[in-house]
């Protein structure tokens, strides 16, 4: 993206007392600037979303306050928000890792499903007897989800590394295979009495919720947040450390910025394509495992309202910063949770879409400076 030579022509309209000039930035904007632009884009997006709500006959302000109250209004609803944010953090990190190397993994949704499948398989095959201790059961489930996601990421990574198959297409298509795979199992193999879902998992395969500890500290009573959240937060720290403090992360960033330079520095790009796709898939798989074990407690085809795709937006909005991913995920968790109170689909999804468009448009401001020049001043 080093298009410094390109300079868009300045627009001069006859009859206007000023003209708008667009110039490429020659100096680095301050450190906080990208975040400010993201925030600005968010505000613009919410304003546009508000207009849509108004056009649909709603009151934008009331809708937004309702969303805020229904997601952050009390400890109870905040806890529900965090439940929604948990898988988003993990898929957001999955996308962050892949995008840092400019690998466009848009198959996080499928990898999430495969992660859920892997975790379920431990219970349903069963790999472990139902009476296994929670301390063994849950780690094994998480590991199975992690590995299943990694396998699902390995396939497009391998194809790209060896045959240069476009990962955007292959990861997208792998999503549909994953959905069909899950459907096959919930309709046929693990169907419970003909319903499209597996039997409920035994309690010791459930990720503990905060509410489970209500006996020790009554504040936690009724809180649905499960331990997957800590998995997500831990993953954010690990991903940050890998990207910015490890040799592997340095290679990822170097390849992402300039593959030719990485090649010149003696870095094996093909190996990294496979490894990064696997790690990205594994994080998404972990999201599936945490969701299945912490929230759904059974395998079914409707375990995700498109978390994997939202992860793409989240990674982008967070500017590929793992800690920002956490904050943005909470915001999107709120939007998913409370948006549902406005309309089950439709408007909340629409607002998400507007946010993404505004963010991408906001990138333009990062790369170019726009100044308004009064024609009168010029001469």
């Amino acid at each position: 993206m080093s298009d410094n030579a390109y300079s868009p022509p300045s627009k001069r309209r006859k009859g206007l007392p000023f003209r708008i000039q667009i110039e490429p930035r020659l100096t680095e904007p301050p450190h906080w600037y990208p975040y400010a632009v993201s925030l600005g884009a968010l505000i613009v997006a919410l304003t546009l979303g508000g207009i849509m709500i108004a056009l649909a006959g709603g009151d934008p302000l009331r809708s937004y306050t309702h969303i805020a109250r229904a997601s952050f209004g009390s400890l109870g609803v905040f806890s529900d928000t965090m439940v929604k944010a948990t898988p988003l953090i993990l898929v957001g990190l999955a996308c962050t890792v892949a995008f840092s190397m400019r690998l466009w993994n848009i198959g996080a949704e499928g990898q999430l499903f495969m992660g859920a499948f892997g975790a379920s398989a431990v219970v349903l095959i069963p790999l472990l007897p139902p009476e296994t201790s929670r301390w063994i059961f849950i780690p094994v489930m998480m590991l199975a989800g992690f590995l299943a996601g990694a396998v699902w990421g390995f396939i497009p990574g391998f194809l790209k590394a060896l045959y240069n198959v476009n990962e955007i297409i292959s990861t997208l298509m792998m999503n549909y295979i994953a959905f069909a795979w899950i459907n096959f199992f919930v309709f046929a193999v693990w169907s419970e009495g003909g319903f499209q879902m597996s039997p409920m998992f035994p309690k010791n395969a459930w990720l503990p919720r905060l509410a489970d500890y209500a006996k020790e500290s009554p504040v936690l009573a009724g809180l649905t947040t499960h331990m997957g959240l800590f998995l997500g937060l831990g993953a954010a720290v690990v991903v940050w450390f890998i990207l910015y403090r490890s040799r592997w992360g340095y290679e990822i960033r170097l390849i992402g910025d300039n593959p030719q330079a990485a090649n010149y520095a003696g870095i094996n790009i093909k190996r990294n394509i496979i490894l990064v796709m696997m790690f990205s898939g594994a994080l998404a798989g972990l999201a599936g495992a945490s969701e299945i074990s912490g929230v759904v407690h059974r395998l079914q085809s409707s375990i995700s309202p498109g978390y994997g795709f939202t992860g793409i937006i989240i990674a982008w909005l967070a500017k590929l910063n793992p800690f920002a991913v956490v904050l943005v995920s909470i915001l999107f968790g709120a939007l998913i949770l409370a948006g549902r109170e406005i309309q089950p689909s439709g408007i909340p999804k629409l607002i998400q879409g507007i946010i993404l468009v505004c963010l991408i448009a906001g990138d333009f401001i990062l790369r170019y400076r726009i100044s308004v020049i009064h024609v009168a001043q010029e001469s």
Binding site: L26, R247, L254, D257, N258, A261, Y264, G266, I267, N268
Partner: protein, 516 residues
């Protein structure tokens, strides 16, 4: 009939600003009918900007222009072409898959729908004949040499009726013999009544071809329209850089040491699978600089890539201190002390959006003390970058600055700092000063010489003969992937002949034949 001293172009008080840069400030420039007027200046002096204003690509912020006595204000290149001004850019604007004629007709109103290519082929051929620009009108652009493509660009302008030609560093892509031919063409065009503005930063060409010269420095005129016969090269150089330039650097006097790099009969293909390197053998000893001259595209790039492990060779081998390093990995050679300053600073040698720190650790991040297990000690990395920044005088605000913010000269310092700090046994430097201004070139040269003195064997691959001559202990010439011969560096004529494909043995035979 215009008389000889009539001004065809007058630019008065031209000022052009870019964000953060004053590219031209109050520049006056004029062009007489039928003259070759050189615009001389370092990179970034504002030569191209000024000419882009004249060619209608940019609009000036202030100042006036008169073309053939009429006041003009171009808002697009089309306006400029209508006024008879044609510019040949440094980078050609041709469609490779189309023929010469098709390229010349591109964008014109005539012919309208049916191209009548045969008729136009004839017209183009005649036009070429008239100006000594021979090129087959039916040839596809990709089949042509760079010199021929340049002729197509010139024909394009002539066909459009341009009588004021702006040539932006036209000789940069040509071999010495081609340059001679090109200068003949220029002179014949002047005889035909064209006026030429010649942009260059090569002094010897300037004194050879031009009638007058205008020198720009940092966007301002330092010498306006001087007759070339009234000024010496030294004076011109002084006007150009604002201080005396050391043309002769102290060459490394020491005796070369043991053999470090040995290349034995290497063959390699280019990206299209065509043979690019065809049996190159050479040896570089520690403490010497071997210059490899040649016009770009004669296998230098591929040879450098084979040596550095970035390209496989189909035959032959490369040895570093007796160990075979060809057909291994880049990492293998790096670990054995091979440094590489690639031709393409921004696309190969550095990572533009990463910081100075990230860029200088590119080859060291795997080894302690920078590496600590699988982690990188960022504290030590920053300290290392800071030390290099001071030692190599890298002008960057901080070591956290992304390197795309640095100038070409400073970016090259970052790369050299990184490569030299590895205390290499061998260094392959390809075009290390391309696109740099005189001051930066001198800095790079000093670094290379110092490194040579420290005992590194340096293979310097360059197109700049001056550079090769002032730095190298020996010079070899490569042409179409083969070594044409080796000289001690003062026989420029021989080097020129070798660069255009005459092997040294043949030159010497002819030489003796003439004397007999």
């Amino acid at each position: 009939m215009p008389n000889l001293h009539q001004l065809v172009v007058e630019m008065r008080g031209i000022t052009k600003r870019f964000p953060g840069v004053l590219a031209n400030y109050n520049v006056d420039f004029d062009l007489r009918h039928g003259e070759i007027h050189t615009l001389l200046g370092e990179n970034g002096a504002g030569k191209s900007t000024l000419m882009n204003v004249l060619a209608g690509l940019y609009q000036q912020d202030a100042g006036t222009m008169l073309v053939k006595g009429k006041s003009v204000n171009f808002s697009s290149p089309r306006d400029a072409i209508e006024a008879g001004i044609g510019m040949v850019h440094q980078h050609f604007m041709l469609v490779p898959s189309q023929t010469v004629t098709e390229n010349i007709l591109l964008g014109l109103d005539e012919p309208r729908f049916n191209l009548h290519l045969n008729d136009y082929d004839q017209i183009i051929a005649e036009l070429g004949e008239r100006f000594g620009l021979k090129v087959d009108p039916r040839a596809k652009i990709w089949q042509l040499s760079v010199g021929e493509q340049q002729r197509v660009e010139l024909l394009k302008m002539l066909y459009r009726g341009a009588d004021i030609l702006i040539l932006d560093e036209p000789t940069a892509v040509l071999a010495p013999q081609e340059i001679e031919e090109f200068f003949l063409t220029l002179r014949s065009m002047v005889v035909e009544g064209k006026s030429v503005i010649f942009i260059s930063h090569k002094l010897h060409e300037v004194t050879e071809i031009s009638d007058r010269v205008t020198v720009l420095r940092k966007g301002k005129v330092t010498a306006a329209g001087l007759e070339i016969k009234d000024i010496t090269r030294q004076e011109l150089a002084h006007q150009m850089v604002g201080r005396e330039v050391v043309f002769r650097l102290e060459k490394n006097p020491q005796k070369p040491g043991k053999m470090v790099l040995e290349i034995r009969d290497v063959h390699a293909q280019n990206d299209k699978g065509l043979p690019a390197v065809q049996g190159v053998s050479l040896q570089v000893r520690s403490g010497e600089i071997l210059g490899l001259a040649g016009v770009a595209g004669n296998g230098q790039r591929e040879l450098a890539q084979v040596i550095t492990g970035l390209r496989k060779c189909s035959q032959g081998e490369v040895l570093l201190n007796g160990e075979v390093i060809s057909n291994r990995t880049a990492r293998f050679s790096i670990r054995r002390g091979l440094a590489y300053v690639p031709e393409d600073r921004t696309h190969v040698g550095s990572s533009p959006n990463l910081s100075v720190t990230d860029n200088v650790i590119m080859k060291k991040y795997r080894t302690p003390p920078l590496a600590r297990g699988w982690a990188i000690d960022m504290g030590i990395a920053k300290q290392f970058a800071q030390e290099l920044k001071e030692a190599y005088d890298i002008a960057a605000p901080t070591v956290e600055t992304p390197v795309r913010m640095l100038s070409g000269g400073n970016l090259q310092r970052v790369i050299l700092a990184r490569e030299i700090s590895g205390e290499p046994a061998v260094m392959i430097a390809v075009q290390p000063t391309r696109g740099l201004d005189v001051g930066a070139i001198e800095g790079v040269h000093r670094l290379l010489l110092a490194q040579c003195q420290a005992g590194t064997a340096i293979l310097l691959i360059s197109e700049e003969l001056e550079e090769l001559r002032s730095l190298s202990n020996r010079i070899m010439v490569i042409y179409e992937g083969q070594i044409m011969g080796e000289t001690q560096g003062d026989e420029m004529e021989k080097i020129g002949l070798m660069m255009t494909g005459t092997p040294l043995t043949q030159i010497e035979e002819q030489g003796t034949a003439e004397y007999v």
